[in-house]
Amino acid sequence: MLTFTAPTLSYFLLSPILVVLGGALLGVFAEAVLSRESRPSAQLTITLSTLVLALVQVWRIRDESSLSAAMGSVAIDGPAVLLQASVLILAIFSVFLIADQGSFTAMAAAIPGSPEEKESLQRGEKLTEVYPLTLFAVAGMLLFPVATDLLTLFVALEVLSLPLYLMAGLSRRRRLLSQEAALKYFLLGAFSSAFFLFGAAFLYGYSGGLTLSSIYDAVIGGTANSVFLLIGISFLSVGLLFKVGAVPFHAWTPDVYQGAPTPVTAFMAAATKVAAFGAMLRIFYTAFANAYWDWRPFLTVIAIITMAFGSLVAIAQRDIKRMLAYSSIAHAGFLITGVLALNKAGLDATIFYLFAYGIATVGTFGIVTLVRDSSGEVTDLNRWAGLGKRSPFIATAFATFLLAFAGIPLTSGFIGKFTIFSAAYEGGNKGVVVVGVLSSAIAAYFYIRVIVLMFFTDPEEDGTVVVIPSVLTRITIIATFAITIFLGVFPTPLLNFITSMATFIR
């Protein structure tokens, strides 16, 4: 007869995740008990305090290092803390944007154009379910980069994905597009997670265990030939690369970025990238580290294609959100070079880049929410003409974010690119560096085109205005702007912090 030993979970180490999950449950509960009118403010309070509390918890566990927080399913180490903190900070800013409820439909179930929809809008109802959904997604994102077995990874992947699928379909305006985005995101997401799972199966078959450490051990001392390992790595990568939007697994990105409500786009562009790359880093740096000879070539090719494709196709975009989507594809390529580096510098640089990029992304989409006409957000690039004249500060902030994306010095993006490319060079991937640099040159073109449009083209009288941002949105934009500049000029504190923290434990 089996004897059952009760599992030991370190609730302290898991507290960030638990806090967020708890907050989400509280949100669901509030949804049930509170009146419709009081929900928005209550939900916002719950969500923000949850996230802040979680951030505090992350800070409290910063010096911990443990593989046994959850029976070996979770590793708490430096990178974990950094990535979780990044996710939480980005989530807080995103929630600020989400709280500006102009972007969400009042009644998701109502048929677009139906009287119910109109009625609900007229009554000024709010879709407060977004908050708990966001928290669930955040919980998944917190877990994804710290999970150390394939099972937890898979569960975390789904926990972070499902709410996002839903949230993508909740746009207030152009709901057909939004629902279409949700459908596409969902179908492709499920498709790719099937690949992930299939890959996990083969890795399990190869190593005889589900944990990353068992894979690591099997790579070093296993008796099997590497076929299963390779199949496993490949298919697992398909799932991960899908999440980060690498070519050729990128196709969902522009459609979903465009269709989803802009605050959700901000959230998923910034935070999902952190989570997904965090997981990638952990998996490739720990489980697969010694098999780098097998995965590096194909990941190199993907990095190159991704950078080039993203930069190139962005040129042809006429919609600001689609353009940013392709830009995010290109950035995924740059980030993969950091994974490829497979050294400490690469780890540090990738984490820094993720944070810097995420901050700038949230800021960028925050500004996108502000440019509107009578029918909602204006994302047609041509109608952004003359924004610099209408609203110089917003335009300047936007230009700064774009310059950060382009990697112009004195912005965080430059430090990010510099560190990540130098890590890649150090890792021996000189070709990738060259392609990266050339892609940056191409990318500069379309960023600059937007700047030209904003500053050097005369505005058309087409009713496009920059609305006065709400306090929360304003905080988001100002804070992200400040961080972007600060990290460009004085990156040292953060770089040092990351360097001192970021070491994976196995």
Partner: protein, 629 residues
Amino acid sequence: MTSNALVYLIALPLFGAAVLMLAGRRADRRGHILATVLSGGSFLLGLYEFSQMLSRSSENRAVTQKLFSWISVGSFKVDAGLMLDQLSISFVLLITGVGTLIHIYSIAYMSHDLDRRRFFAYLNLFVAAMLLLVLGDSYLNLYVGWEGVGLASYLLIGFWNQKPTYATAAKKAFVANRVGDLGLSLAIMVAFATLGTVSFSGVKENAGQASTAALTAIGILLLVAATGKSAQLPLQAWLGDAMAGPTPVSALIHAATMVTAGVYLITRSNFIFDAAPIAQLAVAIIGAITLLFGAIIGAAKDDIKKALAASTTSQIGYMVLGAGLGPAGYAFAIMHLLAHGFFKAGLFLGAGSVMHGMNNEVNMRRYGGLRKFMPITFATFGAGYLSILGVPPFAGFYSKDRIIEAAFNAGGVRGVLLGSAALLGAAITAFYMTRVVVMTFAGKARWEEEVHPHESPALMWLPMVLIAFGSTFSGFLFTRGDALRNWLAPVVEPVAAREQELLSPALVSILALLLVVVGAGLAVMKYLRQDVPVVAPEDVSIFTRVARRDLLQDDFNEAVFMRPGQHLTYALVDIDEVIIDGAVRGVGRMATGSAGALRTTQTGFVRSYAMWILLGAIGLIAAIWMVTL
């Protein structure tokens, strides 16, 4: 020996130029006087230096003045230094002397011009630059003056640049000169690279150790420089057009001084040419060809100034020929240069006087019988005429015959050819100069009715008279006891004993005179005995027509340099636009195009997105399949 006064030779006229330029209209009233006084002051200073020099032994006559270190980089060290030796002083006196006279002349000649002040500013600038040219103690200093006179020449040719043709003429002069300057600057580079110095003394010292090839290269490049400045083939074409400038300018710059700078350069560089026989021969050949070339053109010109300009080309050809004969010819070249300075200046001033009295008419076919109206002009012109023909005892006789003689004595076929050319040139010279004199002063009056020829004012004829004295007596003075040759001796090596004499001096003189008589006679026959038509006859031989077109020099330049150059320019402009910028834009278009093409992969169909994922996965496992094979 050092002197502190040399710089003032240059500074005086330079100061004048600066004042006249900067003061603007305020200096309109007295400016010309200031300029003339300063130029005269320079002349007096030159005379003073000359007298000082005479009081020293021939070895110690040269004086130098180091002003400051001009350029010093690594071993390339050039001081702003001046050097006045026997060769320089000859030029200084010519420049300032003739220059001052022409200043005086111009006061009257330009009295009606609103921009007279500007004219005098240029004149002073020219004098200063020319003095710098002859006083510089290194090739680079010389170069400064060299281009400076080019600038002054450009400004003066284009003095009336509101006439587009004059502006073009000025530009042409500058560009042609620049080609020559290129030679000079390259010569300096070669000199520095091989000899490590660019000062005259240094080059002279080191020339002995340099390879003949290097020296030949320097020599040829210096010759190129000389051809540009001195209007020798193949860079002669600008001089005729340069007559666009006011006539005093033609007298001073394009006859007496600047155009002879090439001869100065070659003579100054005698140590190089003496060690580079090929270069020296090239000099002589260029001189010989040019003297004939210029003379032939001169014979076909109806414009009095252009005829004289062609004559200048021809006469400088003599000088260059002389300089190309080496030690045997340097002194004669310089002598002819000085004599030419007088008589050609006189001729030009005479021409100016004629124009002055003829409402600026330059077409000799519109002259005739002016002798009666302008006696003084006729007399001074006549002195210059006789001098250029080489009639004894006028100055030209001494210098030109010596050159012809030296040419014959150059030895072998070379000597015969060069000498014959020089002799033939003398005959043609006689022809065209007689033609000029006859058409202008003799025969019937052919001018239009409203023209009232009159003698020029004293301010104009006085300088003409003084210069006429020069053209009459200078030759005699120079040759007396080989005065000039001995004077120049330490600068240009004293001539070696004559090895052979193909023709005796007397024989040369007789031959030359004979030919002169023939040439003059022909001209008299053609232009005095027959009536000169007012409009140039069109039914003339092909040779005449070609000569009238300046022996096709402009056509040649146009066909060989200008047109291809223009076509090249237009082609390059197109290339820049279409190919180079086109490539840049093409990269942009390629990016946009491929972006547009790649964008179509985004079909909007979720199934095709899934297909991408599937294909990606297939790509991955295909790669695995390959590596594990």
